[in-house]
Symmetry: C2
Subunit: 192 residues, 2 copies
């Protein structure tokens, strides 16, 4: 049960069995049906979620009432609104919602503090996780500014080859920052 998350956390820092045991004891296992909103706009995000099985999206609603998807998280990915919420205690501007029935590990700030005090090496692992998420966001900004809609879609397919079979198409358009109609037209053109 803990195999996936331990493998994930050990990607950049190694831990011994005792350390992993502490880590695992602080995780909350949770089964969540699809279309459950884990975080509403205006709430304070009190968790970081690791996806064991399923698919989750993070999105905000823009000034025109349009949903914009910031992140998809599938198996072995972390998702949270850490940047705004956790340490600064600001209400979040985003929603986090399951798209499929999910098995998750939830990790809350108190547990995180406890982990860091009992096994400080985890500070480093979580700092690296955050750096990776910063890198991913910067990369996405890069693409959003510099690439055409078609290029963005092609890159998306490379990065998430399994997602088109798992989520509806207009969510992908929303992630890419283009209209669903235009994505449809891109696909038509690419099919040739």
């Amino acid at each position: 049960m803990y195999f996936q998350i331990n493998k994930n956390i050990e990607r950049y820092v190694s831990f011994n069995l005792d350390e992993l045991k502490i880590f695992n004891s602080l995780l909350e296992y949770s089964v969540v049906p699809k279309k459950t909103i884990l975080l509403h706009e205006g709430e304070i995000c009190k968790f970081e979620a690791f996806v064991i099985k399923g698919c989750v999206r993070k999105y905000y609603i823009d000034t025109n009432g349009l949903e914009v998807i910031l992140q998809f998280a599938i198996e072995n990915a972390w998702i949270s609104d850490i940047s705004f919420s956790i340490y600064e205690k600001n209400p979040s501007r985003v929603y986090i919602e399951t798209l499929e029935d999910c098995q998750l590990f939830l990790f809350n700030p108190e547990s995180k503090e406890e982990l860091f005090s009992k096994a400080p090496k985890f500070e480093r692992a979580f700092r690296i996780l955050m750096q990776r998420s910063l890198a991913a966001t910067q990369d996405r900004l890069f693409n959003t500014i510099s690439k055409t809609a078609t290029e963005k879609y092609v890159e998306f397919l490379e990065q998430y080859p399994a997602l088109p079979q798992r989520v509806v198409q207009h969510y992908i358009a929303s992630y890419l920052g283009i209209s669903p109609e235009f994505l449809s037209k891109i696909r038509k053109k690419m099919a040739k």
Copy 2:
């Protein structure tokens, strides 16, 4: 000399005098003339820079050879390509360049490790700094996707009211992800 950086690092975590002394002893003070490239694409970024005085930009060159500015840093801001370079030892895709004569503190990864081992509380402060930079990047992504060019420019003016007097206008266009001509037209319309 250390007043500004100490005030900055204490924004979210407080330190005693001994801790600050250790921190300050590990910083490298550096005076850099304008138009100096501190980091080239392809290099590994071996510093985090804190701006005491001056103005710095971080940018990449897109596939059409066009410069896109990711960040401006003025007094009391940090700038680095931490996300890609420092811990993962990947070559950077960005350039970091001074736009004015600058006074900087440079902080390198070895010093950072030393700091963390001598005064572990700094781990937390730097984790929060990184979260803030993640939040800022996410915010920028948000704006880039959801706002019109005019809205982006107005927000930019609110966030960096002093910058238009300090950097050439097409750099601002490059930051906003629009063409310099269009920014000029926006300004004309706004002047009315």
